[in-house]
């Protein structure tokens, strides 16, 4: 009986984690998906001004 309880509890916890994960995914604002908020870095080179990300 004790063993069985443990299994049930573990399964519920895992279910909760998956549930919270999926809810958070749906609540995540769609507009920011794929957008990077890297700061802009402008570099002038050969008569052109490049708009780069800081990490570039």
């Amino acid at each position: 009986m004790k063993k069985n309880k443990n299994i049930i509890n573990f399964s519920r916890r895992r279910f909760n984690i998956y549930f919270l994960f999926s809810v958070s995914f749906f609540l995540f604002p769609k507009k920011s998906v794929g957008l990077k908020n890297d700061p802009i870095k402008k570099i002038k080179y050969n008569n052109f001004v490049w708009y780069l990300n800081e990490k570039d």
Binding site: G34, L35, K36, N37, D38, I40, I43, K44, Y45, N46, N47, F48, V49, W50, Y51, L52, N53, D56
Partner: protein, 469 residues
């Protein structure tokens, strides 16, 4: 029927005289024919290009450099469609904000317009974000002279007189009575019920100005003829590298996939948010060209890691590398105007065109704002990296790559103080003189003008038919 001079035409009883034989003129004649109405098309040039005839199109440009007026239009049967690029697309609804015509007024002629231009009525637009759309142009291969020669030759309703130049119009009591023509060295007074001036974004104004100079009582002296002249500034704005697949990811099934360059256009929201006029731009992304290598070389120097990533994909068709060319909307300014030259004259002793044109400082500002927003979009979405040409970035100036779209000069409007024709394209305070073509545009939008010229011509044909039938 096609005639080599006016001498062979019975001019006594033709209800509509159309001056010019380009897309506007031919469209109108074809529509009138469907409604059993006779017309006379008067073309100053010959069936094909003639060097001496073409010289009558020379003009002086005062101000900033634009393409030579002698060569960027054609004085021949079919008009400038004899060498146009064929890019076709309707104006956006917000481009009509200052017109007395709404987009819906012209949209009903879309099917017929596409039929005349030999293109599909499919002008897709896919929204990238608040500020940009991917758009599709249709490419017409129609040369009006070539396509409609046989039809006009066989027609007993359309009379085309070649080598016949209209000098001016004559009339009284606000009624036009004659088109004064010269053909084979002879002068003809051609009578008609309706006269339509359809000979291009320069000549329409020039003939009206000469008509007014000959008889100031006949054409309202206050009309701003020749003023608010515009073009589409066409320039190199920058260069860059973009990933086609990223655009596909953003647009999903709405992505416009073709072997043509990716065309991007500004949205109404960008115009409003940044208080600018809009434009369209494209990248000449042909793989493995010199420019392709130059851009990757630059990237390797300024951002080595990114440069290496791009260089590894150099032969990947997904990667587009190239110069960015912009075609922008230009603000209509009263000072940009067509006038008559005080000294130089053409073969009929009519003053040639003197065009005053100054680039607007707002054009380069618009170009920078558009490219800056697009550069940020590419950066933030990982779709690519964009560089702006330093002259544009510094708001100094831009080098025009050519000015081939002539618009304005006889703009549409309700007030004779600020416009030349009314919403039916009839000259203010005149009963039967109409104007067709891009000279009527109140604003130019960013799409090439021929599509809208044909739409307006179809609408004018309906108006004339209602009057005559």
């Amino acid at each position: 029927m096609i005639f080599n001079s006016l001498e062979q035409v019975n001019i006594s009883n033709i209800p509509v005289v159309i001056v010019g034989s380009g897309p506007a003129a031919i469209t109108i004649a074809l529509e009138l024919e469907k409604n059993n109405i006779d017309s006379l098309i008067v073309e100053a040039g010959e069936e094909k290009y003639n060097y001496d005839s073409q010289q009558n199109y020379r003009g002086e440009i005062v101000g900033d450099t634009i393409s030579d007026l002698t060569h960027n239009r054609l004085r021949q049967f079919g008009g400038t469609s004899g060498h146009w690029g064929g890019w076709s697309r309707p104006l956006e609804d917000y481009h009509f904000e200052k017109w007395d015509i709404k987009k819906e007024d012209l949209d009903k002629y879309s099917d017929n317009t596409c039929n005349i231009l030999g293109i599909k009525n499919k002008f897709d637009k896919a929204n990238l974000n608040d500020y940009f759309d991917q758009i599709k142009f249709q490419y017409s291969k129609v040369r009006f002279g070539k396509k409609y020669k046989s039809h006009i030759f066989k027609s007993d309703k359309i009379n085309l007189a070649l080598k016949t130049q209209v000098s001016h119009f004559e009339g009284n009591n606000n009624t036009t009575q004659f088109a004064v023509c010269y053909s084979n060295g002879k002068k003809y007074m051609v009578p008609s019920k309706i006269f339509i001036l359809a000979c291009g974004g320069i000549e329409n104004s020039r003939i009206l100005l000469w008509t007014r100079e000959k008889n100031s009582q006949f054409i309202d002296p206050k009309l701003p003829i020749g003023k608010y002249w515009m073009c589409h500034p066409w320039m190199l704005g920058g260069n860059g590298v973009i990933k086609k697949s990223k655009f596909k990811n953003i647009l999903k099934d709405k992505f416009i996939d073709s072997n043509k360059p990716i065309h991007i256009a500004t949205t109404k929201k960008l115009r409003t948010a940044q208080n600018i006029l809009g434009g369209t731009f494209y990248m000449n992304a042909i793989e493995d060209t010199k420019i392709h290598k130059e851009i990757i070389k630059d990237l390797l120097c300024i951002a080595p890691e990114l440069g290496k990533k791009v260089a590894r994909k150099v032969f990947n068709k997904d990667l587009k590398c190239g110069n960015i060319f912009l075609q922008l909307e230009e603000e209509p300014r009263i000072d940009n105007q067509i006038t008559l030259h005080s000294k130089l004259k053409d073969n009929l002793n009519i003053p040639i065109t003197k065009l005053f044109y100054k680039q607007s400082t707002s054009t380069v500002r618009n170009a920078k704002k558009i490219l800056e927003e697009f550069a940020n979009f590419c950066r933030e979405t990982g779709s690519g990296r964009i560089a702006i040409l330093d002259e544009v970035y510094q708001l100094k100036s831009y080098d025009s790559l050519g000015v081939n779209h002539h618009m304005g000069g006889t703009r549409i409007g309700s007030s004779p103080k600020t416009s030349v024709v009314d919403k039916n394209l009839k000259i203010h305070n005149n009963k039967n003189l109409y104007v067709a073509g891009s000279s009527n545009f109140t604003s130019g939008g960013f799409a090439n003008p021929t599509y809208t010229i044909v739409q307006l011509s179809l609408r004018l044909s309906a108006e004339i038919t209602n009057k005559l039938v």
